[in-house]
């Protein structure tokens, strides 16, 4: 379809150019005419102003002389000059005395107020009137008229010629522009056709003409563009194919993800950065009872959704206002508890794309946790009850045991015949065995209750081992077993630990070895292991016997409670089966490990190590064991004990050794007795559990009553030699303690240590 000329580029350029030219020419001609009029007007005025003084100068003298002939001659001469239509001189009395170029019969023209070329007179003039003056005396008036014919003709000529030139210029311009337009648009037409072909899909159109001019360069650029377009299309096609494959893969992944999300039990919600819903899975709708919420769809504002969910919360939730990642429990009004995990979804450039909300029903887990907490609390309560029971039972068992053993000691200290002595010794032995069994049971119960605590005091390990083996020598000798010990010379100096428990371990293992060996040898080897970076000493002890051995299949379980190597062991050898379990636990508490090797019929070796700190010099000065009471002078002892049997035992044993004992039955009496005469007593033996005022509080009161410099040794008699009781005793102000059932030697040794430290009064 051929475009109208004025719609084509060529036509528009041409019309525009002509319009611009015409406008400019119009302004040019108008301005020229205006300038002509103005300038010529100015020139006329200037001429008039120049003529007037010249004529004035020429006329003043003849006018003053009334020489009108001269005046006339001047006017005639002036009139002969081109450009002046007429001149006239009027004297002071108003009489025309000279005139040239104008009839005397006609009235002179009225002077023009301003110069005007647009006059319609036949003979256009600029009429001027000027006074003829000399030195202020007006001699007459000069009238003259400037001929404007030439100016007007010039203006007319300028206009005509200007229009002619403008018209010619427009025609010439039109022709040139048309030709130029033809040249340009012809090539543009070719470009247009080529562009159409490209648009229709022919991506390799024939090359368009190229050149050095602007259009030629456009053609070159078009050719380059069409080549580049073809290449881009090829690349795009390849990319499109890849995109299709990726789209298929993405669809597949999307389907998988959708299936995964749908199958998840967690409620999943994706929201975009405009806080609108992008995706929710079925579980989300189920969790929030939104199965019938038809508005739940892509684009739903989060605020609408959260408003819908608000009634489900048991109380007002402010978490919706929080921003950023979040993990939070949501309590619902129906009793359920949901866990919300909200994380931001970021693009690779860290731009926030939205948020992922995961809701999981943790009601069961919450309930289970609550139950676990309840069970834990119940277990802790049970443990506490067990501990209290143990403390009570320990006291209740030890107290009568103390009475039994004490009484036996007293009786054995009396005059008895051989039969009585034999019976009492057997009873004593049984009592000792029972005490050991009770101790094992109580120790095991402590272990079960987690209440087994170790003392940390300085002690001499070498002495402890020698003393322990010394005690067991008699038992070993009775079975014709040689008890040998090898203690490493590097085991020098004091160590920090629980000598009582360590003795228990060594005693248990050695006693077991003695029990299961006859006519053999038991070797106890003590070595020091390699230096440790934490500074502790790795004490390695092995007890090797040549006894009956342990079956290999039992070695793995002998450290279990209630397990013995053989079911006949208890029957043949006795024991509760708790000893090794207790030993294993104690070794573990000391940071060590215990193991056993055995060959049936040849013997066993029990190896264990404990990690003990080295005691410093000051700590090493403290005695590690209770020394025997040697050379103890008779003491005045205040005994506070409420149990009648224990009273008799203590009184009998102490008095037997020459000590004076003042008995009180409760803490109050103890405090009163001390207050009555603090200097009367050398030491106080204080039972822990007494009515009215227990031993701890009585000790505190006594300490409060002591004057400066006074300090009476107070030794606790406790049936619970646990760490708690020990610490309680020492914290109350007691100096030492003796466990029930106590051995008189132990009591005397403690008295000897504490009373010796006290300065005699």
């Amino acid at each position: 379809m051929k475009l109208a000329f004025w719609k084509t580029l060529r036509g528009r350029l041409l019309l525009l150019a002509l319009l611009v030219e015409a406008t400019m020419l119009f302004f040019l001609i108008s301005n020229s005419l205006r300038l002509l009029r103005d300038r010529m007007g100015e020139q006329a005025k200037v001429q008039a102003e120049q003529i007037a003084p010249i004529l004035n100068a020429a006329l003043v003298a003849p006018l003053a002389q009334s020489d009108y002939a001269t005046v006339q001659a001047v006017l005639d001469e002036s009139h002969s000059a081109k450009g002046i239509s007429y001149l006239a001189v009027i004297d002071a009395r108003g009489k025309v005395v000279a005139i040239s170029g104008w009839s005397r019969d006609q009235p002179l023209p009225v002077p023009d107020e301003r110069f005007d070329l647009d006059v319609t007179e036949k003979a256009p003039r600029y009429d001027v009137e000027r006074p003829i003056k000399l030195s202020g005396q007006r001699l007459g008036t000069l009238h003259f008229g400037l001929d404007l014919t030439e100016i007007i003709a010039a203006r007319h000529d300028l206009l005509i010629q200007g229009l002619g030139i403008a018209g010619g210029e427009l025609l010439l311009s039109a022709a040139l522009l048309a030709f130029l337009g033809l040249l340009i648009t012809r090539q543009l037409s070719v470009l247009t056709q080529a562009s159409r072909e490209v648009a229709e899909g022919k991506l390799t159109p024939p090359p368009v003409p190229e050149g050095d001019d602007d259009v030629g360069r456009l053609g070159a650029a078009f050719n380059a563009m069409s080549r580049a377009v073809a290449e881009r299309v090829r690349l795009l096609t390849e990319a499109g194919n890849q995109m299709s494959e990726l789209a298929e893969a993405s669809q597949l992944e999307h389907a998988r993800l959708d299936a995964l999300l749908s199958a998840m039990e967690f409620g999943v919600l994706f929201s975009d950065k405009r806080d609108s819903v992008v995706y929710t899975n079925h579980a989300f709708a189920t969790l929030w009872h939104l199965e019938d919420f038809t508005a739940l769809s892509r684009g739903l504002p989060l605020t609408v959704l959260l408003t819908r969910l608000a009634p489900l919360f048991s109380h007002g939730e402010e978490w919706q206002k929080d921003s950023g990642n979040m993990t939070r429990e949501l309590a619902l009004s129906d009793g359920r508890v949901l866990m919300l995990h909200r994380v931001g979804v970021h693009a690779p450039n860290q731009e926030i794309l939205g948020q992922l909300w995961i809701f999981s029903d943790v009601t069961r887990e919450k309930f289970a946790a609550q139950q676990l907490i309840a069970a834990k609390e119940a277990a802790e309560a049970a443990t506490q009850a067990k501990a209290s029971f143990l403390a009570t039972m320990s006291h209740e068992i030890r107290t009568p045991m103390n009475g039994i053993i004490g009484m036996m000691q007293l009786v054995l200290g009396t005059k008895l015949d051989e039969e009585q002595r034999e019976y009492l010794q057997l009873a004593r032995s049984s009592t000792d065995s029972l005490l050991r069994i009770v101790n094992d049971i109580l120790d095991f119960s402590k272990i079960e209750a987690g209440k087994m605590e170790l003392e940390v005091i300085p002690f001499d390990l070498g002495r402890l081992i020698r003393e322990t083996l010394g005690i067991l020598n008699a038992s070993a000798a009775s079975r014709n077993v040689q008890l040998v010990s090898e203690i490493s010379p590097s085991l020098a100096g004091s160590l920090l630990g629980d000598p009582t428990r360590l003795r228990q371990i060594l005693t248990n293992l050695t006693a077991n070895a003695i029990k299961f060996t006859r006519d053999g040898i038991i070797k106890v080897i003590v070595q020091i292991g390699a230096d440790r970076p934490d500074g502790k000493v790795d004490v390695q002890i092995s007890v090797t016997d040549s006894g009956i051995g342990i079956p290999a299949e039992k070695l793995g379980s002998i450290f279990q409670p209630f397990i013995q190597a053989d079911h006949s062991t208890t029957r043949n050898y006795g024991g509760t089966g708790l000893g090794l379990a207790i030993v294993s636990h104690l070794v573990g508490l000391m940071g060590g490990r215990i193991s056993a090797e055995s060959t049936l019929g040849q013997g066993s070796t029990f190896r264990f190590n404990v990690l003990l700190k080295k005691a410093d010099v000051a700590q090493a000065a403290l005695p590690s064991s209770k020394p025997a009471a040697q050379g103890l002078r008779p003491l005045r002892i205040l005994l506070a004990e409420d149990n009648p049997i224990n009273q008799k035992v203590a009184l009998g044993l102490l008095r037997k050794h020459g000590h004076t004992v003042h008995l009180v039955t409760n803490g109050e009496e103890a405090v009163a007795a001390y207050v009555a005469d603090a200097h009367e007593f050398d030491a106080i033996l204080m039972d822990m559990q007494m009515p009215k005022l227990d031993g701890v509080e009585a000790t505190r009161q006594i300490r409060a009553c002591e004057l400066s410099g006074q300090h009476i040794p107070i030794i606790a008699l406790t049936a619970n030699a646990s760490g708690v009781d020990r610490d309680t005793c020492l914290a109350a102000g007691m100096d030492d303690y003796v466990s029930k059932p106590f051995q008189i030697a132990e009591v005397l040794a403690v008295l000897a240590r504490r009373v010796k430290e006290r300065q005699p009064d």
């Binding site: 003043v60 003849p62 003053a64 002389q65 030195s135 202020g136 005396q137």
Partner: protein
């Protein structure tokens, strides 16, 4: 002086007010004819202070007019064209005698005529001017008539007298060599530009003659006293003082009637010249 001026001004003003029937511009102009002793331009400029003063005093337009030459001036004066005339003594006598003008006053400065030659010329004696051209104003001018008498008395033969209209032209023509000598008034000579005056030399100077005389036209006889008073009042004004000083006229003085009588012979010559023109 100041009091007299104020008195005279007041009288003149009041006279003008009482005697002024209509606006000044509607009355005929009071024409003061000045003898063409110099160029018309100079004459008009010279007498402007007097014109302005009388115009204000009379309350009517006042014109300063002159003529192309003394002869024409005399003719016009005799034709009663001037309301007030200021002319040299010989014409004043003619106007008095033949036209009935009323003499009023003259200048204090003596009027003298001089013969001028170029300073570097060889003319030192009257006889040196024999066979030369002498420039003079019109035949009716007093200076010219005196000069002619001097040449005659000194028997200077064969002198061509060339008449010019303006006395300042006399000096130029002498300096240009167009005349051996020129006849002009001493006042005119003294009023020449210094550069021109210094190039001239006075060959001869006349005895004091009656100079310019103020004469009132007889038709204004009723105003004689008033006009006389106004002129004397004008003489007291700073403008008149400046005018007197500039043109070395010193001031007005009364004119003795015998002074004009002594100018009768010169007046006769003017009369004869006028008759010949007719």
């Amino acid at each position: 002086m100041r009091f007299k001026f104020l008195l005279g001004f007041s009288i003149a003003l009041l006279s003008g007010i009482f005697n002024m029937p209509v606006a000044a511009e509607n009355q005929a102009a009071f024409r003061i004819g000045i003898a063409p002793h110099t160029s018309a331009r100079v004459i008009v400029e010279m007498y402007q202070p007097l014109r302005i003063y009388l115009e204000n005093a009379l309350g009517r337009p006042v014109e300063i007019v002159t003529a192309g030459d003394f002869t024409e001036f005399a003719r016009r004066g005799l034709q009663q064209q001037y309301d007030l005339s200021v002319t040299t003594g010989h014409q004043a006598r003619l106007f008095e005698a033949d036209a009935g003008y009323l003499p009023l006053m003259t200048y204090k400065t003596d009027f003298k005529a001089v013969f001028l030659v170029a300073s570097n010329s060889s003319y030192h004696e009257p006889r040196d001017l024999a066979n030369s051209t002498v420039i003079g104003l019109s035949p009716s001018s007093l200076v010219t008539i005196w000069g002619q008498h001097w040449l005659h008395r000194n028997a200077v033969a064969n002198v061509n007298i060339r008449y010019v209209s303006a006395s300042d032209s006399v000096a130029q023509l002498v300096l240009n060599g167009e005349g051996a000598a020129g006849m002009t008034s001493l006042a005119n000579y003294q009023n020449l530009q210094p550069a021109v005056r210094d190039r001239l030399r006075i060959l001869n100077e006349s005895l004091p003659l009656v100079g310019r005389v103020y004469l009132l036209n007889k038709r204004h006889a009723a105003m004689k006293e008033r006009i006389n008073s106004l002129l004397w009042a004008f003489a007291e004004t700073p403008e008149a003082q400046q005018y007197f000083q500039k043109y070395k006229l010193v001031g007005y003085r009364k004119l003795d009637s015998r002074e004009l009588v002594e100018m009768t012979p010169y007046a006769n010559e003017v009369r004869q010249a006028l008759k010949q023109i007719k």
